[in-house]
């Protein structure tokens, strides 16, 4: 089927199988490999993307559902000015170990901070509770999101 959607601010027109998983469409058809596939069953959060600003899992969506939607992947967070404040905070706080969960964590954190710009540590843990880090570096990840929310407050 022919679909049209916005991906990281750019309009995309695609002829694709209606039941193609969105994670495959992004990674294999369009080359946006920042979005990872971990479990393929909605348990790990590595394939997190923003769909119309909401945190969703691209392994649990099919291409037909993208029609008319606005999608942001990890590639869409950094701009010409450089990294997104969350990405900067992840680097500064040492929140990246093997890095496989990082794009999903940052997408989940972005969705969290949009709805709750000033979360407690407990709210950060809860907001990231759909994302697994197999290196188990959760402490640093929570530190980074907390740091990004403080910076966000200063700049706005």
């Amino acid at each position: 089927m022919k679909i049209q959607f916005i991906l990281n601010g750019e309009e995309i027109h695609l002829d694709v199988a209606a039941d193609r998983r969105v994670v495959d469409l992004l990674r294999e058809d369009l080359g946006f490999t920042g979005t990872k596939e971990g479990c393929g069953a909605g348990e790990c959060g590595a394939c997190s993307i923003l769909v119309n600003g909401e945190h969703r899992l691209s392994c649990l969506m099919v291409a037909a559902q993208l029609a008319g939607a606005e999608i942001v992947t990890i590639e869409g967070l950094s701009g010409e000015k450089g990294f997104h404040p969350l990405q900067e905070a992840f680097i500064r706080e040492g929140a990246v170990q093997c890095g496989f969960c990082t794009p999903g964590m940052i997408i989940a954190a972005e969705a969290l901070l949009k709805s709750n710009p000033n979360p407690t540590r407990e709210e950060i843990r809860s907001g990231l509770s759909g994302n697994l880090c197999r290196c188990t570096g959760y402490q640093k990840i929570v530190d980074a999101v907390s740091e990004a929310s403080r910076i966000g407050k200063k700049t706005t």
Binding site: A18, D19, G42, E43, H55, L57, L60, Q65, G130
Partner: protein, 298 residues
């Protein structure tokens, strides 16, 4: 390749079904895509219900709350009517899946999946929810416990969809509790879950008791004998200990990767003891807030 249709309204849905009579429905897709991946489900085509406005939205009319089947768990958690008047359901949904699963998954999907571990089911059973079913011919309503006929099975016939859930909020003096026992806090499938709604007379006797257990039988377990045993008795540890023995006999759990049947039986009985804990907690808060020991606890 399978066709995927996303009708925008009911008229389009019925037309879609005319063309694809063997299509299967999905809402949030959080169960379907997992099953597709493991090739557990096959269908000629898929019809997604997520865009149909007639089965979305939360309204209150004549003291009853109508929740559209395609309302997501995240929307329910945010809605003041659910937090304010259906806090039992609210508590259960807060334990369901993870943030993205709650953003995608719908209450109708949770019901139609009809898993014995479905997190919304124990509260919907004790709240005596009714389901509203749409077909091309019209609508009908059924109590949820008649709608779910077995593990993964409902009374939905070909050409019918679950449209909404109707719930009458319980009275303000009722006490309620939901608890889920799992291996972790997030993304966990219940080992056992328990929803209870009860009320006490001024002398501390149990006037009403509606109790439902999840994950410990082929469908949600409710038992008239357990409830009947409690009615009219003082809410004491001794009463609950005896009722808990009955619970252990009446649940029908299985062994699986998450827990043994024995553990599930034991924990089902123990969950009932929370009634005392929470009633006392409510009484303590009442004394603190109002300065009087009312309602009294036996």
């Amino acid at each position: 390749m399978k066709n995927v249709w996303l009708p925008q309204n009911l008229t389009q849905l019925w037309a879609c079904l005319d063309n694809e009579p063997d299509a299967r429905f999905f809402a949030g897709g959080t169960d379907l895509l997992v099953q597709m991946r493991s090739r557990k489900v096959e269908a000629a085509a898929w019809i997604g219900l997520e865009k149909i406005n007639e089965i979305k939205g939360i309204d209150e009319d004549k003291g009853s709350i109508r929740i559209g089947a395609c309302v997501t768990h995240a929307q329910l958690l945010r809605h003041p009517l659910i937090a304010g008047k259906l806090s039992l359901l609210h508590k259960a949904i807060a334990t369901l899946g993870s943030p993205p699963i709650r953003t995608m998954g719908t209450i109708g999907g949770n019901i139609c999946t009809a898993s014995p571990a479905g997190d919304t089911l124990p509260p919907l059973y004790v709240l005596q929810a009714e389901v509203e079913i749409f077909s091309f011919k019209g609508t009908q309503r059924l109590p949820i416990r008649d709608f779910i006929s077995g593990p993964g099975r409902t009374k939905l016939q070909q050409g019918e969809i679950l449209a909404a859930i109707h719930i009458k909020p319980s009275s303000g003096t009722d006490l309620h509790h939901f608890e889920k026992v799992g291996q972790r806090k997030s993304m966990c499938c219940a080992i056992a879950s328990f929803a209870a709604l009860w009320s006490l007379s001024s002398s501390g006797r149990i006037e009403k008791a509606r109790l439902a257990w999840g994950s410990v039988g082929p469908t949600i377990v409710m038992d008239q004998d357990i409830e009947g045993f409690l009615i009219g008795k003082k809410l004491t540890r001794e009463t609950l200990d005896r009722a808990a023995q009955l619970v252990e006999q009446r649940v029908a759990p299985i062994d699986d990767v998450r827990a043994s049947a024995d553990y599930r039986r034991k924990v089902s009985g123990h969950l009932l003891l929370r009634l005392l804990h929470f009633t006392q907690g409510c009484a303590r808060r009442h004394i603190r807030d109002k300065g009087v020991a009312d309602p009294p606890i036996g």
